[in-house]
């Protein structure tokens, strides 16, 4: 599990055509086998395309009269993402610092925190949503808590790597002036990696907007929940509108966030 973060460049394989043929054959066999496994058949696909086109017809034109009723749930989605990003963003600071090999006070702390971080990252956000839903009940609070954990996983992994690449001369200067470990972190390590932190936090916010849509589908509130109820009621024209609105809103939010991030670095 802890080896998941290590990516090393594999040695270049020799140009062996037999090897290529074997690999290609293996991949083809795997795909065909897996296709049988899930009962995939080209015949069925062609028949269902007709059903798909009927669905598309029913979904057009989008029901724009439904738009005003989207505002509240959409804002709820944004709120969930904001709470998740802020809470997770704050909690990720100690997690990232202790997971940076050059800053962690000792090997044991580093090892434990590193693995803790990897466990958070390995478990998907849906799992956390289910977990918190059983604890605090289905709804936006469970969604925000799940996204907090997800945010810690995202930011701490990326940022601990930024922290590992800082210039260690400055921390040494703070230590040699009689500064404590905490003061060294605050006055020399964090300022050097601050830009990266803000950039990763904004990136986590973008991910959280999208993730909170998905969490809504399983009942964590927000626009995903509206989408799910409309779909269950076969209101496909409203579904189309929701998808379009979400597409536009997410694109706008990502554009703003990306512009800020680009200015930073």
């Amino acid at each position: 599990m802890n080896a998941a973060g290590n990516t090393t460049l594999p040695t270049k394989p020799p140009r062996n055509w037999w090897l290529w043929a074997i690999v290609l054959g293996f991949l083809t066999a795997m795909t065909v086998w897996s296709g049988y496994g899930i009962g995939f058949s080209a015949n069925e696909l062609v028949c269902n395309i007709a059903g798909g086109s009927r669905l598309l017809e029913e979904s057009w034109p989008p029901d724009f009269s439904f738009l005003p009723r989207l505002i509240d749930p959409f804002m709820e989605t944004v709120y969930i993402a904001i709470v998740g990003t802020v809470v997770g963003g704050i909690l990720s600071i100690p997690v990232a610092v202790l997971a940076a090999r050059n800053l962690s006070p000792d090997k044991v702390t580093w090892f434990l925190d590193r693995n803790f971080m990897n466990i958070l990252r390995t478990l998907p956000d849906l799992f956390w949503a289910m977990l918190f839903a059983t604890a605090v009940g289905f709804g936006p609070v469970a969604g925000a808590l799940a996204l907090s954990v997800f945010t810690v996983a995202v930011i701490s992994k990326l940022w601990s790597e930024s922290l590992e690449s800082i210039d260690m001369g400055l921390p040494e200067a703070v230590r040699s002036a009689g500064g404590s470990w905490l003061q060294m972190i605050q006055f020399s390590a964090i300022p050097q990696a601050m830009q990266h932190y803000v950039s990763y936090a904004l990136y986590a916010f973008e991910l959280n907007i999208r993730a909170s849509l998905v969490l809504g589908l399983v009942g964590a509130g927000g626009i995903g929940m509206i989408l799910e109820t409309q779909r269950a009621n076969f209101e496909y024209e409203r579904v189309t509108l929701i998808i379009l609105a979400v597409l536009v809103a997410v694109l706008i939010i990502e554009q703003i966030s990306e512009t800020i991030r680009r200015r930073l670095t």
């Binding site: 001369g169 400055l170 040494e172 200067a173 703070v174 230590r175 040699s176 002036a177 009689g178 500064g179 404590s180 905490l182 003061q183 605050q186 006055f187 020399s188 300022p191 050097q192 601050m194």
Partner: protein, 276 residues
């Protein structure tokens, strides 16, 4: 008010600052000898220049004084107390031993003021420094330190917006803010131009004279060593090969320290070579 701060920044008399190496050895894990059987005594208030070619152990010597490098054997003591290897004792010692670096080592994104206050970190509670909530008396010490190097008007400028010479002055101010008994300057002028070099060396000499802080400076320019040092220490392969007055050091001595002829690469100002 200004009288108060003046007194604050001036270390109390009898501040100490004596350094003593006894049979001190440092061998790096890769087998390189950084310090060999060093016996050396530096008196309080002395201005010592260490010379030697690169790899001779100049930095090793400085960094042993504040415990950044650990001795392999032997002892080093400051004012009769052995330098602790770690823990609270080492932190306490480092409050009294300031360091100035070749690459300045400032937090470039933060203000000059914050950088100088880093020198006060050992003197404030963890909570206060964490909230960046500095007592007025601490700020007064920082401002006084900036006045001593003549850049108090830059207090609220970002460190990255200063020239190299100004950045090194902030480095000196940070050292002064510690109100140290000893200042260790590791090649403080190696990344500066000749004019700024002389200004920074003048600053160091003036501070040593005015405040009586024991000062050890690593230099690789011989004319600077002659011009500014009171006492010159020569190192070669980690060994002490010269220890004497800067006024009487000869070119022959320098040849001995370097183990080769002294060339114009070893001096900052060409005229000095012509004179010598």
């Amino acid at each position: 008010m200004s009288d108060d701060s003046q007194q604050n920044a001036t270390p109390a008399s009898g501040q100490g600052g004596a350094i003593r190496f006894e049979k001190a050895n440092i061998v790096y894990p890769n087998g390189v000898v950084g310090m060999k059987d060093l016996d050396l005594e530096i008196k309080p208030g002395e201005f010592v220049v260490i010379v030697g070619s690169s790899g001779a152990g100049k930095s090793t010597l400085l960094r042993a004084v504040n415990g950044l490098n650990q001795l392999t054997s032997g002892t080093i003591s400051i004012d009769g107390r052995e330098v602790p290897k770690s823990g609270k004792g080492l932190r306490e010692l480092r409050k009294r031993v300031a360091m100035i670096f070749q690459d300045f080592r400032l937090v470039k994104r933060l203000s000059v003021m914050t950088n100088v206050l880093v020198g006060r970190l050992g003197h404030v509670s963890g909570l206060r420094s964490m909230l960046n909530w500095w007592p007025q008396s601490e700020k007064a010490i920082a401002i006084d330190a900036l006045e001593r190097v003549g850049i108090v008007e830059k207090a609220w400028v970002r460190a990255s917006d200063l020239s190299g010479g100004q950045q090194q002055r902030v480095g000196i101010a940070r050292a002064l803010a510690q109100q140290p008994a000893i200042i260790l300057a590791d090649e403080p002028v190696a990344s500066l131009d000749p004019v700024t070099t002389h200004q920074i060396m003048d600053d160091l000499v003036r501070i040593n004279r005015d405040l009586g802080i024991t000062t050890i400076v690593n230099l690789h320019f011989l004319d600077l060593a002659r011009e500014y040092g009171q006492r010159i220490i020569g190192l070669r392969f980690g060994e002490l090969v010269y220890d004497g007055d800067a006024k009487t050091v000869t070119d022959e001595d320098f040849r001995n320290i370097y183990g080769r002829e002294v060339t114009e690469d070893d001096v900052l100002d060409d005229e000095v070579v012509a004179e010598g």
